[in-house]
Structures are given as structure tokens and as C-alpha cells.
């Protein structure tokens, strides 16, 4: 009989547990009472001897049990190796629900696990709940963020990937008496097919500067050119903020993919979001509508962005932005 809510623990190259892991633990602790207080469990692969470094952080983040596998080869994520180990662990743990953070690595590993287990997987969810008959109801945006769909799985474990920054980690810092369980797995027949030749750390060094930014100045199609985006950058610099972009702007080559905000990009919630030349298609706004304040600058007074903005300026971004840069 399968039991418990299991959470994949992603460890970054710098050796930190990705915060989405704790956001999922926060949510799992909320769901657990609706599932006969089912245990909240983590699973992680680690370099030998490292588990002690992480014990406290699991304890204060609401984990009842943590399963781990140690080996010296587990230095950082490799799709073939990690998905194989994770699959073996999940088979043995046999959880009712399996949650994975929707980071790049999470979205790489989750469909491999679900496919090998012949179960359902709901991608990039923004809400999780338990139905009256005890099933996981995973809600996600689809159709460019315009339609929300609540999805259930007929098979077990019920799996979902969840966007970072959607849920909050546990508030109370009351430690749980977490049980740590060392699983001995031998990787019979595993042959690596992937070799990581080198790694260049992102210049933005820390975990997602866009995620933690207090101020974001974002540009869309209306910024038209790289020089238009240069204005965005100047305004962001002036405000001590970070630049963001709509999907269309990224597709036009005006900004790099890591700046992309919205359904196929990042979800952000800064104190101030200044949207310049962004029409405000839902696929963009879904990634920024939790911002505390939104200022929209757009030449089209009917642009949907004004419907969700606190302040609006109808006019030419190429005229107003240089004035703002000068006067701020």
C-alpha cells in the first residue's frame, strides 16, 4: 500500500538545497491532514558523508522522513545517472504522491520517472489540493496561461512538478524529529551515456537574480530593437533592479532566454514591476501578476496590461524612459 508525500530534493552545484524543495515541503504539510496525516518525505542523492550537513535544514522544514543514497559520483545532476537512481528509490519508497520542483533539472528528471513508472505527471503546477476522495488535484495554467486546468491521475504515484516561488516554506521553525534512512542501492547494469565536459557558471552567480529581485524593469515587443532594450537596462540599473522580458521579445532576439518572464519563463513577485512595451498577454502576466505594484508603459491605450497595472502611462516608451532615467 503506497503511502506518503515524497519530495525530490535538488542540490545545486554550490551544494545548497534548492528552495523549491522547502516550498514543496510547506505545501505537503498543508495537504497531509487531508490524507490521514500522511508523512512528508524527502529523497536525495548525495556525495558520501554529506547527509549531516543537511539534517538540520530538513528538520526545520517539516520533513518526517528523508531517504538518501550516497556515492562519490553524486557531485551534480546528470540526467541518466540521477533519473536511474531516483527511479530505483521511488520504486522502493512507493509513495502515494511524488512532487518535484519545476526547475530545469526537475523538469528533466520528472518525466523520466513518471514514464518508467507508467503513471501520470502534471507539469509546472501552480496549485495543489486533495479531493474529497483523497486524490491529488494539480492545477496548472495552459493555453498560454489563459486557461487553468485541474488534472488528476488514474495511476500511482500521482506526480506533479511545481513552479518555484508559488508556495511558501513552513513558517514555524519548530523542528520535526526527522528520520534519516540510508538506502543501499546498487546500480546493476547502469552504463553512463552522458558526460559533462565543462560548466560555465551563470554570471548572475546567485540563484536566479530575477527571482529575488525587488525591482524588475521588463520589455516586450514594443521595445522593437536591441537599443530599445538598452533603455530597459539603463532604467533597471538606475533603479538597482533587474531586467525582464516577454516571450515575444526573447523570440525576437532582444533579450536572452533567462530574462523571460511568463508561462514558459520565470514567475516573479518583486515590489515593483515596470512593464514597457508589453501588451500583457496572459502568458506573460501569469508570471508577474503577483508583483506588489505594477507600472505599465504602453502606446496602445487598449493594451490588456493596463487591466492589471496599478499605474499606467499611455505613450511612447522611447520618449518617457529617457526622461525617467534622467529624473530618477
Amino acid at each position: 500500500m503506497s503511502n506518503g508525500i515524497l519530495i525530490w530534493t535538488e542540490i545545486t552545484r554550490d551544494g545548497f538545497i534548492h528552495p523549491v524543495t522547502f516550498e514543496l515541503a510547506g505545501k505537503a504539510n498543508e495537504l497531509s491532514p487531508k490524507l490521514n496525516n500522511s508523512p512528508v518525505m524527502g529523497f536525495v542523492v548525495l556525495k558520501t558523508g554529506k547527509i549531516d550537513d543537511y539534517k538540520e535544514v530538513f528538520e526545520i522544514n517539516g520533513f518526517d522522513k528523508v531517504f538518501y543514497v550516497e556515492d562519490d559520483t553524486f557531485d551534480f545532476y546528470k540526467s541518466d545517472l540521477y533519473s536511474r537512481v531516483a527511479l530505483d528509490m521511488v520504486k522502493e519508497i512507493d509513495p502515494e504522491i511524488l512532487l518535484i520542483g519545476a526547475t530545469e533539472n526537475g523538469r528533466d528528471i520528472a518525466p523520466r520517472i513518471s514514464t518508467m513508472l507508467h503513471t501520470g505527471l502534471t507539469a509546472d503546477c501552480t496549485e495543489l489540493d486533495i479531493t474529497d476522495d483523497g486524490k491529488l488535484a494539480a492545477t496548472r495554467p495552459t493555453f498560454g496561461g489563459q486557461l487553468m486546468a485541474t488534472i488528476l491521475s488514474k495511476k500511482f504515484p500521482q506526480m506533479a512538478t511545481v513552479r518555484p516561488k508559488v508556495f511558501k516554506p513552513m513558517k514555524s521553525f519548530e523542528k520535526k524529529k526527522t528520520a534519516f534512512i540510508n538506502m543501499n542501492l546498487d546500480l546493476v547494469g547502469f552504463e553512463p551515456s552522458i558526460e559533462i565536459l565543462n560548466f560555465i557558471k551563470s554570471q548572475k552567480s546567485d540563484l536566479n537574480s530575477l527571482d529575488s529581485a525587488e525591482i524588475i524593469v521588463a520589455g516586450g515587443k514594443g521595445m522593437q530593437s536591441k537599443s530599445g532594450f538598452n533603455l530597459i537596462k539603463q532604467l533597471a540599473d538606475k533603479l538597482g533592479g533587474v531586467i525582464g522580458a516577454s516571450r515575444v521579445a526573447v523570440e525576437m532576439g532582444l533579450a536572452s532566454q533567462e530574462c523571460q518572464i511568463g508561462q514558459t519563463g520565470k514567475t516573479v513577485s518583486p515590489k515593483l514591476y515596470i512593464a514597457c512595451g508589453i501588451s500583457g498577454a496572459l502568458q506573460h502576466t501569469i508570471g508577474m501578476d503577483k508583483s506588489s505594484k505594477i507600472i505599465a508603459i504602453n502606446s496602445d491605450k487598449n493594451a490588456p496590461i493596463f487591466k492589471i497595472a496599478d499605474y499606467g502611462y499611455v505613450g511612447d516608451a522611447f520618449e518617457i524612459i529617457p526622461q525617467l532615467i534622467e529624473k530618477l
Binding site: 545545486t12 552545484r13 554550490d14 540526467s79 526547475t103 530545469e104 523538469r107 528533466d108 518525466p111 523520466r112 513518471s114 514514464t115 507508467h118 503513471t119 505527471l121 507539469a123 479531493t131 488535484a137 495552459t142 498560454g144 496561461g145 489563459q146 486557461l147 491521475s153 488514474k154 551515456s193 552522458i194 558526460e195 559533462i196 565536459l197 565543462n198 560548466f199 560555465i200 557558471k201 551563470s202 540563484l207 525587488e214 525591482i215 533603479l239 538597482g240 526573447v250 523570440e251 532566454q257 533567462e258 514558459t264 515590489k271 515593483l272 515596470i274 502568458q283 506588489s292 505594477i294 507600472i295 492589471i308 496599478d310 499605474y311 502611462y313 518617457i320 525617467l324 529624473k327 530618477l328
Partner: protein
Amino acid sequence: MKIIVCIKQVPDTSDIKWTENNTIQREGLESVMNPYDAYALDFALAIKEKNSDVKVTALSMGPKQAERVLKRALALGADDAVLLSDKKFSGADTYATAKTIASAIKESFEHYDIILCGQFAIDGDTAQTGPSIASFLGLPQVTFVKGIEDCSQGYVTVIRETYEGSEKIKVKLPAVICMQKGESETSRITIKGAIKAKKSEILYKSIEDISLSPDEAGLKGSPTYVSKAFRAKQRDVECRYITTSEELVNVIKSVGGDNE
């Protein structure tokens, strides 16, 4: 070398209109080639340009109308195109879709080197089908790839980009590679390509052609189901319009956009 590019026909999600009942108005909704699949095709065609022995097959699953995106792929330079089309395929989630595509690849091709997919489709945005195809075929995968550096002697070297940085990864072929937007040149339709596309036949395959039972495909073969769908909630604010730069500067300062 053989490259299979998986292509999805998607509605143009930037232009969605709603009916009075809060359902998506599907009539008149334009269909386009999923942009991420177009990037994947660009990469495949760039490899073909450098190596004359490369053959590119465009593969799609969908209704007969999906022929249009395959014709486009042919016009852009793909050598041939396969459309998996059967009523029994409809309603598939990512698991059933990947199973169908993987079966078709197993049944149709004795040899292939790279399966290229777009990282996401802009309608569903799951990013699951590519890795799921890889799992069904027992192949390695590299996702979030933005560049292909080299492919030779049974390996391909790619650049994968994540929030942490970029990894150069060497993967043994055959493999599934999922592409984001990268540095590749955008392919253009030439007159020669357009003529070739017009002449080329698209190879249709039904469920019988790919050794799949009806229970394994479409809605029936899907482990997930949609229990409800509803219109996304909007932020509920009243926009205050501002007309001067001075006033805008004050607003920015008042909401914390003051660097001093």
C-alpha cells in the same frame, strides 16, 4: 546521419478569444508550428547544411490539418515528413503522446541518430513529451539545449543552459535533444524548397501501422485526465493613469523604486 524532428501544430496562443461562457473560441484560431519545434528544425537543418549525408525527417502527431506544419517543414528543407493521424490518438496526455511517437519511431526507422524536440509547446507547455519519448525508447536525453556544437562518431556535444549556468554535454547517440531558442540561423523557405514541398507526399501512419493497441493511445491510454478547466483569474486593480514624467518619477519613488 538521420535526424528526426518532432513538430507540434499549436494554436496561436497570443490571439485567443473567449466565448461568453468562458471557453476558448476555437473557431478561427490560427494554427502555427510550435516555435520551439521550429528552433529544433533550424538546428537540424543547420547540421544538414554542414554535412551532406544528413537526412532530416519531420514527424508530427495530429489531425489532417497538421499536414500544414509538415509542408512548411518540407519547404524549409526537411527531406521527408510523417504524420501520425488516427482518431484513436486524440485526447492523449504527454504519456500517451510520447508512447505513440516512440512506437512510430521504433516501427518506422531502422536507424536514427538524433531525435530533436522543442523544449516546450506553447499551448500545453509541459516540457514532458521529449523526455518521455526518450524513456520509452530507452535513450539518453539532454533538455534545455541552446546549442549543438558537434556531432560525429556516435556522439553529439551540446550546450545545456539552466539557472546555474551552461553545461557542455557529450551524449552518446542515439539520443533525444530538447531545444530552447539558441543561436542557430532561422531557416527560410526557398523557391526550390516550396516547389519540393508541393511535390512531396506526407507519409500517413495510423494506429495499425505502428503496432499500438487502442487501449494504449489517446484518451484511453492516458494516465491523467482533466477534471475541470476554468478561465485564469486576473489581478483585481484599478489602473491610475499618469500623464507626465514627473508624476511617474514620484510614483516610482513612492513604491520603493528609489535607489538612494
